[in-house]
């Protein structure tokens, strides 16, 4: 028994009301646009919607067709190759550049600006420039040949087997600057005493980076991973601007499959099925991680 007046917990709906009001845009975006749009997409992926969405259900037909489509398989393979290499190279190059930039160098501002400026340019522009640079009749191949190296062949954009690397070159050019900046920021956040300690202990610099500094930079790596990975999954403009998916279907990517089938082929159902596959893959990878990272974590 309590011998004092108990104040009832106020209606929880109105607790923290301002915060809830302020979060409405986020909630609406998350629930209506992202979640709603996803559910809507999944729903219509089971229909045979053509130009306009309609509710004639066809079960898993769209998915069967999707996985029987050579272009879809190629798209996925390309994304996998592109994704793995883009991640590895952008992290390695970005980190190495950042580590070099962190050596009390002269002209740091100049170098940083040079590495970062491509990020200001859109993928369309990036694609155009690199299409031009890699064009066999004008670009690198032509230049090297006219220097007397007649047999020189470097024609990624018109060679099926290596076209995806031609796109990778452009993507890395555009994106590593940002990775470098993120890494640099992370390196600058490392306590100077760590460096002193490793010097006193006589640990070589490379080892210090690998064994001490990199593990300490986990938050930076995670933020960078989110930014780079979300860019990889979405890769579309670059491919369109550089190769339009060609030669043939050699540089197709999933996002382009979605767009082409939704709008050019006017087969929304097929486009939605491809979207759903992408969304599922993303969700499987991202949600558990995102929940661990952002959910339930308390401060104080």
């Amino acid at each position: 028994m309590t011998d004092y007046q108990v104040a009832r917990r106020p209606n929880t709906l109105f607790r923290n009301l301002n915060s809830k009001i302020a979060s409405i845009p986020m909630i609406v975006t998350a629930m209506v646009v992202f979640l709603g749009g996803t559910v809507w997409t999944v729903f219509y992926s089971f229909t045979n919607s053509k130009l306009l969405p309609r509710t004639t259900f066809v079960g898993f037909d769209q998915y069967e067709r999707l996985w029987a489509s050579e272009r879809w398989i190629v798209s996925i393979q390309n994304l996998a190759i592109f994704g793995v290499f883009a991640l590895i190279f952008s992290f390695v190059i970005g980190f190495v550049l950042a580590a070099f930039m962190d050596q009390k160098i002269r002209l740091e501002n100049v170098f940083r600006t040079i590495f970062l400026y491509p990020f200001a340019l859109s993928f369309i522009v990036t694609g155009l420039v690199w299409q031009w640079l890699l064009n066999p009749d004008f670009g690198v191949q032509h230049v090297v040949r006219s220097l007397g190296w007649v047999g020189f062949t470097f024609n990624p954009l018109y060679t099926q087997s290596i076209v995806i690397y031609g796109i990778l070159i452009a993507a890395l050019w555009q994106g590593t600057g940002l990775v470098m900046v993120l890494m640099l920021a992370g390196l600058r956040g490392i306590d100077e005493d760590i460096w002193k300690a490793s010097r006193v202990d006589g640990i070589p610099m490379v080892k210090t980076y690998l064994l001490i500094i990199i593990p300490m930079m986990r938050p930076v790596f995670i933020t960078t991973l989110v930014i780079v990975a979300s860019g990889i999954v979405k890769v579309y403009d670059l491919v369109v601007a550089q190769t339009s998916g060609g030669p043939g279907i050699a540089s197709e990517v999933p996002a382009k499959y979605v767009y082409d089938y939704m709008f050019q082929a006017q087969n929304l159902g097929q486009g939605f099925a491809a979207s759903t596959m992408m969304l599922i893959t993303i969700s499987i990878i991202i949600i558990p991680w995102a929940y661990l990272e952002f959910g339930g974590k308390k401060r104080g």
């Binding site: 130009l51 064009n135 099926q160 030669p247 767009y259 006017q266």
Partner: protein, 411 residues
Amino acid sequence: MNIRSLAAALAASVTLSFGAAQATDLEVTHWWTSGGEAAAVAELAKAFNATGNKWVDGAIAGSGGTARPIMVSRITGGDPMGATQFNHGRQAEELVQSGLMQNLDEVAAKGKWKEIIRPASLLASCTIDGHIYCAPVNIHSWQWLWLSNDAFKKAGVDVPKNWDEFVKAAPALEKAGIIPLAVGGQPWQAAGAFDVLMVAIAGKDTFHKVFKDKDAKVAAGPEIAKVFKAADDARRMSKGSNVQDWNQATNLVITGKAGGQIMGDWAQGEFAVAGKVAGKDYTCLPGLGVNPIISTGGDAFYFPKLKDADKSKAQAALAETLLAPATQVAFNLKKGSLPVRGDVDLAAANDCMKKGLDILAKGNVIESTDQLLSADSQKQKEDLFSQFFADPSITPEAAQKKFAEIISKAD
């Protein structure tokens, strides 16, 4: 004609017609942005502005693939344009069925479209459930082989008169450092070239059996196998094209860097802009010189339903203008296509157009694949052929198998 000065003239005419009180702005979207195309659109705009309304140009470059999604989104999004180009055929079918498009019955009746438009299949493609929903403006045929006379002269061989001669001349061209056949990287070009080969080699009936009746057995049969053989030749001859856009490929022919190109009659506009003369600088072979049949696809304008009554009136005015004889002549001369009405005088037509008109008059026509197949099937076909043309490791037999599969599931 210089486009810039044309635009200036246009601007002037707009200012003049501004005096007319009922001038209504009508936004027209299309993807005609190449040199010849833009010149042709200017003719339409001029004619429409002369009615006292104002043509607001909404060109979206990058061909139908880029433009169509934007157009469809705007119509379904509830912010439609005044009029929009589609390839006539089945691209806008569902928009019509959902009641988003303006019925043109009245304008059609007034202009006696049923009588003047030929071939009738054009109007049929515009007709859904007995009502007319689009105004065809031109006939475009795919079945042309464009040859550079210069290139053959340089290679020291005669300009071929048909596909077989062309294939035979290829080694000579190659020896002279000329790409025999220019094929751009855009997927629809490869698919289109294949359709052309099919009409020329397998003939009209087979074409119909495959694309109209969707007969997979024919598609897998020996007739089509021959077509794939020819496509294989074409693939070999097209090696080294290294261009994306169709008109860049055409430009290879214009400049003599390539021997020929299988491309629709819209290529003619590019030759015209470049100041080339048919018969002298270049040669055109309808039906690849084998089987003079042309398909009658083309472009049509659709008119989304608008709330504003003035705009609806302007839409009717535009529909009427598009089919007016003078517009038809002016437009099609620039565009390099054929007029949709048989009763206009195309005295100014050049060599190639006359060949086309001739075939049309004889009735040697087939429907275009845009009319026969859904956009979905078309896209799958495009994927297949762009892959086939780019990847020599795919045998004609394997490709034919896939082709038959697409046909069996086509709608």
